[in-house]
């Protein structure tokens, strides 16, 4: 029994030590974001601020346009939820309807997963340019609106819904859209939860495409704005840390609340 206790203690210590190593950048970011500027050049650097200040956070909104970046990021998040519903609708059709070409079209959807982003990046830019949508929100949002992986996950989960349920509603005279929103969506809430969180994280973090598309600061997202801040205020570490913390903390809060669903989500997808 003693050996077992030693083992357990050892594993716990290892767990905490590894966790602390993973946490260093986060801890350093949070504590530094409350430091006044003169403490950043201090040797040796201190973990906690000697003088606590919120100035860095205030500056994000007064000196810089973080409120605009936040608004744009939230618009992208909103559209990603619309995309989520389009994925769900397509997944539903592939799972529960038989129609000519359904198999072939589904394979086509899956095939798009294998195309690397670097190959499509340039032609998509040329396409958006030809449509006259560069430097618009539509140009930023449209290319990533739907995704094969999302469609695939919805299809997998919705295949398990008994078809009788839908037949019963049809006999009651419910329209197909009504069946989808009133019957299918409530049943598949767990997948919507997982996909919703992933969509939120993806949209909140979206960086490369807004960077390519937006010439105008009015369209910058938080991450593009932070990249600009990194370039323009390269030595103002306090401001940088506050900007980074402002991006990272909301995600961590959302994730901590829903982490159980995300981990379950990977079990749903059949990853064993």
């Amino acid at each position: 029994m003693a050996a077992k206790r030693i083992e357990k203690t050892f594993m716990t210590v290892l767990l905490i030590a590894g966790g602390l190593l993973m946490m260093i950048p986060f801890i350093w970011m949070i504590t530094s974001s409350f430091k006044p500027e003169n403490e950043f050049t201090a040797v040796p650097p201190t973990l906690l601020p000697k003088e606590f200040t919120l100035k860095n956070y205030v500056d994000l909104f007064t000196k810089l346009d973080f409120i605009v970046y936040l608004k744009n990021t939230l618009i992208i998040v909103f559209w990603s939820f619309i995309g989520l519903f389009l994925n769900a609708l397509a997944g539903y059709a592939f799972a529960k309807f038989e129609f000519p070409g359904s198999k072939k079209l589904f394979y086509l959807v899956l095939a798009t997963m294998m195309i690397p982003g670097q190959v499509t990046m340039i032609p998509v830019y040329l396409l958006i340019n030809a449509m006259g949508l560069t430097n618009t929100m539509a140009g930023i949002v449209l290319p990533g609106l739907v995704g094969a992986f999302g469609i695939f996950l919805f299809r997998q989960f919705m295949s398990t819904i008994p078809t009788d349920l839908m037949e019963a509603s049809r006999l009651d005279g419910a329209g197909e859209l009504r069946i989808f929103f009133r019957l299918i969506v409530p049943i598949t809430k767990p997948v919507f939860a997982v996909q919703g969180i992933l969509a939120f994280i993806g949209a909140w973090n979206s960086f490369l495409w807004p960077l390519i598309m937006a010439n105008d600061q009015k369209l910058y997202t938080l991450s593009v704005g932070l990249q600009l801040l990194k370039g323009q205020h390269g030595s103002d570490f306090g401001l940088q840390m506050a900007g980074a913390a402002f991006m990272v903390v909301p995600i961590i809060i959302v994730f901590s609340f829903f982490q159980k669903h995300i981990i379950e989500g990977y079990t749903i997808s059949g990853m064993k």
Binding site: P25, P45, F207, V248, I251, I263
Partner: protein
């Protein structure tokens, strides 16, 4: 005609349901790959974009030139460097973290799941900002920590070889979490009875790990290895936000080379050719992986 309308009405709903998603995928995934293939045989650049009549077909020139381009060859070498060091590290550390988290069931182990996963969901620019500060040669935490052991300050991002390793460290830190979750899901799928049977036979902890757990994780390991490999061949965001490929292209990856040629230098045709070389490498590596996997012992 009547027959057609009847058929259409019958399948109206499924087609309506898939139409938006399919149209978007067609426009932004399928058609672009055709465009990429076509333009990779042309000299399209900003002048060509302004007026399509300036575009000329150049045959295989782009593909020939890309292999003569010293920057591309360097990026090829760097990408190999990233993959060979980074991928095994990610797979081993993710599996290790999953085994560790699967060891206990208390609140501590549940909480630390979130801690280990956190870097995976953290925005890459925020990561770059924070790590850039950690790596700072004057005021950074890492050099300060080295000084505790009497090690001189390092040029984390300015030394050609060390810069690559610094980016790998950051990328490994960021990719452990997601892969760890995949291993955790797989671990929870192993029936307890296997371990009980082994205990009756008097197997030690170590033997159970080597002869039961690791072999039964083989599918998850395969999945993680192949997705990580594909991901790391496309190593991109880390050098883009941390070093922009420098110093002297020593952190330039293939994906960043394509991005730079496309969006900085506007050599769209040349960049498209480069992207097909990258695509080809990914396909070959994936096929090789599946071939090796087939020889594996099935349990």
């Amino acid at each position: 005609m009547q027959n057609f309308t009847k058929r259409f009405n019958r399948y109206k709903y499924p087609y309506m349901f898939i139409a938006p998603a399919l149209l978007l995928l067609l426009t932004f995934s399928i058609i672009p790959i055709i465009i990429a293939l076509v333009i990779s045989f042309t000299n399209i650049d900003l002048a060509g974009l302004a007026n399509y009549s300036n575009i000329e077909a150049v045959g295989f020139d782009n593909f020939m030139n890309v292999f003569k381009d010293p920057v591309f060859l360097k990026s090829l070498y760097n990408t190999m460097f990233y993959v060979i060091i980074g991928v095994p590290l990610v797979v081993m550390l993710a599996m290790g973290a999953a085994l560790l988290l699967n060891y206990g069931t208390g609140w501590l182990f549940k909480t630390f799941r979130v801690v280990y996963y956190m870097p995976s969901i953290t925005n890459i620019v925020a990561v770059a900002v924070v790590w850039g500060y950690l790596y700072n040669s004057h005021y950074g935490l890492f050099n300060h920590m080295l000084s505790w052991f009497g090690i001189p300050a390092q040029q984390w991002l300015n030394d050609p070889t060390l810069a690559k390793l610094s980016l790998i460290l950051l990328a490994v830190w960021k990719s452990i979490g997601l892969n760890m979750i995949i291993f955790l899901a797989a671990l929870q799928g192993i029936p307890r009875s296997y371990y009980e049977a082994a205990e009756i036979d008097g197997a030690s902890k170590w033997k159970k790990l080597i002869y039961i757990t690791v072999p039964l994780l083989s599918f998850a390991t395969f999945f993680v290895t192949i997705t990580t490999l594909i991901g790391w061949i496309q190593f991109f965001e880390e050098p883009l936000v941390m070093t922009k490929g420098g110093p002297l292209n020593s952190t330039m990856s293939m994906a960043l080379f394509i991005y730079n040629n496309g969006f900085q230098l506007s050599n769209f045709g040349y960049a498209a050719a480069g992207s097909f070389v990258l695509f080809f490498i990914i396909i070959v590596v994936t096929i090789l992986q599946f071939a090796v996997k087939r020889k594996d012992v099935e349990y």
